[in-house]
Symmetry: C2
Subunit: 750 residues, 2 copies
Amino acid sequence: MTMDQLLQQLPETAPVLQATFGLERESLRITDTSRVAQTPHPSLLGSRQFHPYIQTDYSEAQLELITPVAQTTAEARRFLGAITDVAGRSIERDEYLWPLSMPPHISEADIQIAALEDQTEYQYRVGLGKRYGKLLQSMSGIHYNVELGTDLTAQLFALSGYDNQIAFRNDLYLKLAQNFLRYRWFLIYLYGASPIAERGFLKDTLNSPVRSLRNSSLGYVNHEDIQVSFADLTTYVTDLEAYVASGQLSAEKEFYAPVRLRGSKHNRDYLTKGITYLEFRCFDLNPFDPLGISQEALDTVHLFILALLWLDQSTSVDKDIAVANDLNNRIALAHPLEPLPAEADYHSILRAMTEVVTHFQLDDYYHQLIQQAQEAINSPRLTLSGQLVSHLDGLSLQDFGQQQGQTYRAYFWSSPYALKGYESMELSTQLLLFDAIQKGLHVEILDENDQFLKLWHNDHVEYVKNGNMTSKDNYIVPLAMANKTVTKKILADAGFPVPAGQEFSSKSTARRYYGQIAEQAIVVKPKSTNFGLGISIFQDPASLDDYDKALDIAFAEDSDVLVETFIPGTEYRFFVLDGKCEAVLLRVAANVVGDGTHTIAQLIDLKNQNPLRGRDHRSPLELITLGDIERLTLQQQGYTPDTILPEGIKANLRGNSNISTGGDSIDVTEQMHESFKQLAADMATAIGAWVCGVDLIIPDLSKTASKEIPNCTCIELNFNPSMYMHTYCHEGPGQPLTAKILANLFPEIH
Amino acid sequence: MTMDQLLQQLPETAPVLQATFGLERESLRITDTSRVAQTPHPSLLGSRQFHPYIQTDYSEAQLELITPVAQTTAEARRFLGAITDVAGRSIERDEYLWPLSMPPHISEADIQIAALEDQTEYQYRVGLGKRYGKLLQSMSGIHYNVELGTDLTAQLFALSGYDNQIAFRNDLYLKLAQNFLRYRWFLIYLYGASPIAERGFLKDTLNSPVRSLRNSSLGYVNHEDIQVSFADLTTYVTDLEAYVASGQLSAEKEFYAPVRLRGSKHNRDYLTKGITYLEFRCFDLNPFDPLGISQEALDTVHLFILALLWLDQSTSVDKDIAVANDLNNRIALAHPLEPLPAEADYHSILRAMTEVVTHFQLDDYYHQLIQQAQEAINSPRLTLSGQLVSHLDGLSLQDFGQQQGQTYRAYFWSSPYALKGYESMELSTQLLLFDAIQKGLHVEILDENDQFLKLWHNDHVEYVKNGNMTSKDNYIVPLAMANKTVTKKILADAGFPVPAGQEFSSKSTARRYYGQIAEQAIVVKPKSTNFGLGISIFQDPASLDDYDKALDIAFAEDSDVLVETFIPGTEYRFFVLDGKCEAVLLRVAANVVGDGTHTIAQLIDLKNQNPLRGRDHRSPLELITLGDIERLTLQQQGYTPDTILPEGIKANLRGNSNISTGGDSIDVTEQMHESFKQLAADMATAIGAWVCGVDLIIPDLSKTASKEIPNCTCIELNFNPSMYMHTYCHEGPGQPLTAKILANLFPEIH
């Protein structure tokens, strides 16, 4: 039985791209003075004892970013982007993630071994430092993990003639590993990106740049005595165990092959349990990409891996690998602009890649990837190391590294309310995901459009939808809050202030109600209303005639109409969580304030330059538009868009204070008197809500509130209150609510 | 200060109709042999110790139905209808509620004093029996409680010049009580309905029928020595206390005035706390109405009460009342067809009623009520007692009473799945309301359109929406169940069988998936679908071309498309509550079975005669229609509506098995193997649901289920599973689920 030709026998419809992926990226924390950070691992990142995504590698300053298993390269890279974003914003503000595999100028003394609680791990690192020197440990790269899809593997197994699945898997993955070692120079040529070492890093300084120091014999490699056979799995395992037994390796994991078998802790277990997946470890950080690896590279590598399966096995494995290692070393140490040597048979690889794309009718995208690789082969300047040549300052990349690293830092901080890669999700969910990743919760997006998350720590699972719909609320409570009539009855029964009023389903009954409200300020409104349609407000008592008209207007919008006492005052949103008011927000209608120089239209443009303003609820504030409603609102104040507004004079652009129509959010949590916060919290408790947005109208802030003399009226309870608007405000410090949601859901990790 | 003219000074817009109402109706349980039931108070009605709505009055067989306070007469009467419905269906099937105030033929021995646990109450009844005789205690009537509205009272108070609200209320209600006593003959004339006593009831047999025995001196009245002054409240209280002190009355409540002051247990408390409302006690049961009192009577009385306020007070109260009592007695004892005597000044009342209607511009309805009263005055045959004359059998109404009582019983049983008066609510909510009233929970409908209920017992409050959305479920669970993708992931993670499959948002990715499903039976469907639109089922593996077309069809309906393994078998709905499967239902597509005689169209008509079939989900089964889809379905089987179907041959009218399109519901709870029920329950538990509808597809019922070898697949979990369809089935015994919901919510009363 042989693995050869197997892939070629699959039907064109076979799920050849089916695979799972995982990425690990190392990166040094570097200060703005281009020194390795001497600060401890950021406390914002929770505990390294369990953090699934952000760990430290060798040294305290070397972050290791680990994605969970993803179904596509794009999903893996997206999650890597999110972890990078979180890590980049969790370190000190004068630090950034070094974008290159080779560190900036560094000395042994700069490198603090990661202060892990696990003493075995710590001592292992001490040993490595002694064996290889700490400098080498400061190189960073990306590891690319791939498991072939279950359906794909099953179809290959069915064709293979094997009767044992484990034996089949082992042979399949071993063939892949062998061919990877035979052809990895192809990837080093394209993606090698460690052309220099800064002064003092190497014993013997290089005279000219190379492709990939890290993937050469000068890189972080085992002693040349270590020769492990890849010819068959049993030999491989036996070789490794012998080196550990002899003390030449301190552990099996100290064997630094460019490809590593994965799935079991001890290699011998593969013989009985099978190899689960492979880890490809040869990728230098791509400094032209904020994540260190591009989407195209991920997919080219995926196609390359399929090509390795498409190609036949070697019949003299270890000999071929030895030759390939030598070729690889020459290519890695060649000048970046030097073409591939003649003995590098890239034709076979490109042909195999093309055959895979053609046979399985893959998208044109994959043809383009092959085309790009071909072009880079034709023109070394297009390779990563080729591109880096122009950024060399003598034989240093320190300035370039700093410039790129700081640019990426600015990029990650540019929208602090967003999570990179997840910008299409609701803002509150992005904030919550950010916090969850930061604190080391496991996260899985069960349904992206539905904002449905699974979060877990050990055995403790919580599901969260829309940022704060959780297991902490009982089902009937949000349903009650969704119904204005029910909410009012419950609050009123519990003795809290709500607008007096009544609901009507017939106009004649509503009209008869006039006797009860003839002398009051009232609001007449449809029971369900959008953007204030059908609402009439009488700040002075209405005549029967006007009341009658207001009823007609409201009944035109809904079959049920509410007539309520009008409550004068200012509306505030109180965010209550678990019986405690955590934030208070004042929303102000869209407006501009004059400076005596600019027109109103210009003032709007200026105000819209605030990076917090955007469109479609994907920014904490919305851009102010200048549409019909705004023009009408201006006109009512005697203005036009061309009016030059005197200094300090405010022009309103809207009658409603919604953030969604350009309103301002003002965080008044600290200024609001405690008694109002307590009353709001008590209202949420009365209805039984864990999370609740309480809208209070307060006529006079100089008074205080109590249940007996409330000095305020509750006009609405909200069961899924927006959180982001409290966090990133037009004015005021902002309150971080999503972190409190998590602290409440997972008290054990806070 | 005087109460006179006060109402007349109110502006026309004043809320003159604002009031709250409560009704109490007594009724004997009578057997089909026209005897007073000797059975104990029905155990179905829970405990009399706390039942708020259904109690026993004097005797064990005399039900007392008590409405809660209602904002309108219609609402009070509607609730009375519901209580009557519940009571009528909670007694033995050979009993019914006696529709007349006067009992059928009865002897002292038939009357068992109510077996109340409260010994004071029991002994009080023993005393009454001795003092008045038990026979008199078997008369039944309706008490009508009214409190004037708070805004109305406030406006009257503001006009009155009083400075003390309690004094004002007492004078207001005392005036009302006085005028009521002066004019109650008006109501006895219209609504008196106790023309005879059956043989043996009275010592001296009447020679001809009268208007109202019950409201005459022959009725249940105090000894004529008891003369309590209504001239002022202090005298009233003092008089009453004196009679109790002397032993002439055993308690203040033994004073049987036609109007009773209400709000405090002891009359003296009115002096300091004020009268809250009045109870008018003179209403005979109207045997022409299943509830004993008509809507028109309730509103005429309301208007009459307002007229009593409109009219001036008497200046010689007790004298006027004595004269009025005498007049009343004569009118009550007059022949039903005799006109009012000349001294009965009905003109003043009718005029006052008209003035109220005119002054406050009340609807034409109230004019009509006055008109009806006027006509009844002109023509005694139109009064209740006048109408009863034609039903007299000699001087007996026993046959008529039986006929009416049995007709009403049949009416209440006609739609056992509905709650009378609440038929516009969802069926499951009607069933739950029925059960809640039956068991003696307090119920309040917070929002009728939203099916939102408040239920309580003592301090324990539960809110219920749509029959089973409660505090028992946590919020995220139904949200998870509402999302098919999330549900599948959670079930699959927990190791339960769900259809393999994947969700796609682009056609090209979905197309690429073909390789994974090329050899399977599959379903291609839009993620959200209604009535099967856009679904393609391939029971044999699809060609790529057909798969491609199916994707186009599905993507035309939704931007997300699911491709799932097709699961052959039969779908069953498992209803799980609190970890236990309580019901299993098989739904079968709308169909008819031939008899060799009728056409398919005729068979449909015959099947539709089942009283369980109706329209718009307001019956447990829907009427089968014969529309385009049904005709097409018939055509596919080679039939037309005119086909005469051979005996035993089934013709399907639909491809889908929804009950809403005429499908049959078959209760298979008892037949289903326990292992499937357990698996369904375990699935609900896995997702954390308290209430859950689990849809399982079972290919082979002869096998059993386990988590390891499920022999079934879960295709959906439902967070608000329908309950009524399990209870009233086309076939099978049906399972009472709403009662179990209540037992779970209120274990303390079960």
